[in-house]
């Protein structure tokens, strides 16, 4: 049976992990597919997974009663979706909807949190990687807030 290990070992997000750490992550991983328009996660629901997008595109949305869903970011091939699984109370803050047929690798949150508690080296490695993703997202959000294309 083909495992996810070769793909995850090559992925920039997991680059540099010890082989045993990679094995632990592979043990918590599974392949998933979403149709276009299918919701992957919903605001307020328990964050049971995070995803590494293999192919396709996902929109992060906030639902507003007057304007309907507003897309605040799209996530594509090779990128990581979701960090609420790391931070209590482990609930999603946004909706995420596949806007194209999307395949991804789902990482089981409970499984990974338990492994990280057991092995703090693994926990630290994952935290470093997620901090990078969160920082990039924060920088992009600040630029969006500046509304650089508006007339000032």
């Amino acid at each position: 049976m083909q495992t996810l290990e070769p793909y995850l070992a090559e992925h920039p997000f997991l680059e540099g992990l010890e082989p045993y750490q990679l094995k632990i992550i592979v043990g918590c991983a599974s392949n998933v597919r979403f149709d276009a328009e299918q919701y992957i996660l919903r605001e307020g629901e328990e964050a049971t997974n995070f995803y590494i997008i293999h192919q396709g595109k996902v929109a992060l949305e906030i639902f507003t009663s007057d304007r309907g869903p507003i897309t605040i970011q799209t996530i594509g091939e090779g990128e990581v979706l979701g960090w609420s699984w790391l931070i209590p109370p482990y609930q999603w803050h946004y909706d995420a909807r596949a806007i194209e047929p999307t395949s991804a690798i789902a990482l089981d949150a409970k499984c990974l949190r338990a492994k990280c508690e057991e092995d703090h080296d693994l926990g630290y490695e994952l935290l470093k990687r997620f901090t990078h993703v969160i920082t990039q997202r924060l920088e992009a959000t600040r630029l969006q807030l500046l509304d650089v294309y508006g007339v000032h």
Binding site: K57, I70, T71, E77, Q144, V148, Y149
Partner: protein, 279 residues
């Protein structure tokens, strides 16, 4: 008696042949000379001083195809007194044009390299002539990648052309908007987030950037982090202008004059001036 006014200070009359709506606040006007002159040769990246009689004069980049000099095109976004007046004009109306002025994008220097064009908002206007030039000599370049960011899907310029370019196998076009509602299926986020998603040969890539200065600053960082050298990055700068021909000093960027040394600069030549507070 000989006039003491330098020739480039005298606007030439041009008639509006056609006015095309791009977005709610941006139009492209097509101009033809009123005296039947043959054409208006220019290089990609240059600008004209456009004069609305009785209102004022502003620098506007030339957004047309350098290989079709007969039709002079300007894409103008209405932000203040003069640009609003330009957009109130109709087909048949006449305005004054001085130019072309300034430096140009390194279209020839980029031959043999991959090329990344990063445009933000109205910044696509001075870069459109570059795309026309690249497409007309497609086999001379490696990869050609256009990354274009706008505020919303409704604010995208040149939608039909973007679609055509995106449909070609030999161009990579990625469009992104700051926010979108409902049926937009494209990317959402800032233009810098597109840079990690593209593949190119960093040692043989020329990048050309035009947009608001903050956007250019973060784009520069991202391109540098991907290994593109400063001497291969070009930016287009904006400053207030009056004369357009290096006489008045209005457009100074430190020791440089944007109207003559720019608007297109090699980043390596202005890196000490770029983003400096005092300038």
């Amino acid at each position: 008696m000989k006039s003491i006014i330098p020739e480039p200070m005298i606007p030439k009359p041009f008639r509006i042949h056609r006015k095309l709506k791009e977005t709610h606040d941006t139009y492209t006007i097509e101009l033809e000379s009123t005296n039947g002159a043959d054409g208006f040769p220019f290089s990609a990246g240059q600008f004209n001083m456009v004069y609305v009689f009785g209102v004022g004069e502003v620098p506007i980049s030339i957004s047309g195809d350098p290989s079709i000099p007969k039709m002079l095109r300007h894409t103008t976004r209405s932000v203040g007194t003069v640009t609003k007046a330009i957009l109130k004009l109709r087909s048949g109306d006449v305005l004054g044009v001085r130019g072309p002025f300034g430096s140009h994008w390194p279209v020839n220097e980029a031959v043999g390299n991959d090329v990344i064009i990063v445009a933000g908002g109205i910044g696509l206007a001075p870069l459109r002539p570059v795309l026309y030039s690249f497409i007309s000599q497609r086999d001379k370049y490696g990869k050609i990648i256009l990354l274009y960011g706008a505020r919303t899907p409704e604010d995208l310029l040149y939608k039909k052309e973007l679609e055509q370019w995106r449909g070609r196998f030999d161009l990579e076009v990625k469009v992104i908007v700051d926010s979108a509602t409902g049926n937009w299926r494209g990317n959402v986020g800032v233009v810098t987030t597109l840079i990690p998603r593209i593949q190119f040969d960093p040692l043989h890539t020329v990048a050309m950037i035009c947009g608001p200065e903050v956007m250019m600053r973060y784009t520069l960082k991202e391109l540098q982090s991907r290994g593109i050298k400063n001497e291969n990055i070009f930016v287009s700068m904006e400053r207030n202008m009056k004369c357009g021909i290096c006489l008045c000093g209005h457009c100074q960027l430190g020791p440089k004059f944007v109207c003559k040394d720019g608007p297109v600069f090699c980043y390596d030549h202005i890196k000490e001036l770029f983003g400096k507070r005092e300038i």
